[in-house]
Amino acid sequence: MKADPQNVLVGAHYLDGNHACGEGGIAAGCKFFAGYPITPSTEIAERVSRRFPLIGGVFVQMEDELASMNAILGASWGGKKSMTCTSGPGFSLMMENFGLGLMLETPCVLVNVQRGGPSTGLPTLPGQADMMQARWGSHGDYEVIALAPDSPQESFELTIHAFNLSEKYRMPVLIMTDECVGHMTEKVVIPPPEEIELVERKYSDVPPGEAWPYMEFDGEVSPMLPVGEGHKFHITGLTHDIRGYPVINSEAQHLNTRHLIDKVKKHADDIIWLEEKDIDGADVVVMAYGISSRVMQPAIAKAKKEGIKVGQIKMVTVWPFPEKRVKELAEKVKAMIMVEMNWGQVYLEMERCIAGKCEAHLIGHGGGTVHNPEDIYNTIKEAVK
């Protein structure tokens, strides 16, 4: 399916990452946005609230982030592509019902424009310290999909991609951007609608009375049941069977949670998106995501100029973590380096996958500004010694 021309603001714009993210959602066909103001994410809500009235969308400013997350789930079941945005403290509040979205298998998009934390932290300055919260922040066992844009252009593109993944895998998808990208203004080229490919929601064609909200708990995606069409289906946040009925025992729990996990794990190769450069023959590989993957570039260029064989992986998707690839590379290189604006979160996954096969380095940072490329350069030099 192609994007609806009325939703696409074709052309070259000078936009910040947050506005671009809002435009991405609109281009993807989002028609319901529920949000609560929080710096540094609010421009997304502002953009959408301005643009929605004339294209048939509804923006609602909710009473809090708990309500925002729930409202987008309700609207998604009502047939609307839905999204919300927030930052650290609001992300904490959304975690409860992000879990409900995963459990009910509800497509929607949640954008976290990360700032420094914990607690109120640094409202106007960047951080990347919610990455583990994105992975494990709601209680229970599950897998998530999280994308990290490094520019306004990618904020636009990855928001569309997030909607597509959410429909394809019938689950909430996270965009883990940050204040730097959100408030950074650059050229954003919005292509014509015929060049924007959208994943359409799959509805069940089983007639009412015979259809259940889930087909098999085998890690495959079931088509959704539409509301108001006589299916009279039931869904619950309780552990359930494929009928959507609660079943409170260990076998049901096993089936239900394995399904939620396998839905992502079985399709990890399709979901994982890495941009690799100069990996062949590299002695050291630098990994990063979002703004950090951009800031590492001058450091890598400088190291290369000095003859250091350094490869790089920009993780467009952070979750699911590229386990297979890191395990493979750990056998081949001398060291792997994670650059992130926290004191070691995604690094833990990298270190786990390396499992002592090569050196693992973290270039951490408390946030508030991005890394100094010089620090990255120094670590690269250190790593090849």
Binding site: Y14, D16, H183, E186, V295, Q297, P298, V370
Partner: protein, 187 residues
């Protein structure tokens, strides 16, 4: 690979961010370059220290913040004092003459002053002082073609105010051009 790092500083309400936006837009939309604008602001909307950073480059901007400003645009004394020591060796300071007492910065650094607020007031709206500064900056730095900057002004200001803003831009640009020409003659 030409990279120009610009810091614009002033207080909230002077249009600091918009002037950064116009420079960035002129470069990236109307001059086929890359330009990254970032901003920082205090918690208050009006009156607090405010700063915008624009990196203009022929290639993709990788590090988004100013390390050493090639151009410092100072619209307030506070902003100038905060950032005056972070200038490139051959940098230029573009300042509001009536508001900012500038110092000598050593051999390579040039100072260019303009009574932008006064000019804006003469045009009828004090609020366009930032556009006067943009015009002035364009002329004294030669960073971007006048046409690209004018186009960026025209497409970035609130509709209905284009004419006034273009007048403000021209005022600053002409003043800057004269200043540079005079300097060249006397040099």
């Amino acid at each position: 690979m030409a990279v120009t790092e610009i810091r614009i500083t002033g207080f909230g309400g002077q249009g600091v961010i918009l002037s950064g936006y116009i420079i960035g837009k002129a470069a990236s939309i109307f001059n086929e370059q890359h330009a990254t604008l970032t901003q920082s602001f205090g918690p208050e909307a009006r009156g607090s220290a405010c700063s915008a950073q624009v990196i203009v480059s022929d290639d993709r901007v990788l590090y988004p913040y100013v390390t050493k400003a090639d151009i410092l645009v100072a619209m307030s004394k506070d902003g100038y004092m905060t950032h005056k020591n972070n200038l490139a060796k051959d940098g230029i300071v573009v300042y509001e003459k009536d508001l900012v007492p500038v110092e000598e910065h050593g051999a390579g650094v040039k100072n260019y002053g303009i009574p932008a607020t006064r000019f804006a007031e003469e045009l009828g709206r004090k609020i366009v002082l930032n556009i006067v500064m943009v015009g002035f900056l364009g002329a004294v730095s030669g960073l971007l073609p006048e046409k690209a900057l004018r186009k960026a002004v025209e497409t970035s200001v609130p509709s209905g105010t284009e004419e006034l803003n273009l007048q403000a831009f021209d005022k600053g640009y002409q003043y800057g051009k004269q200043l540079v020409e005079t300097a060249e003659v006397t040099a």
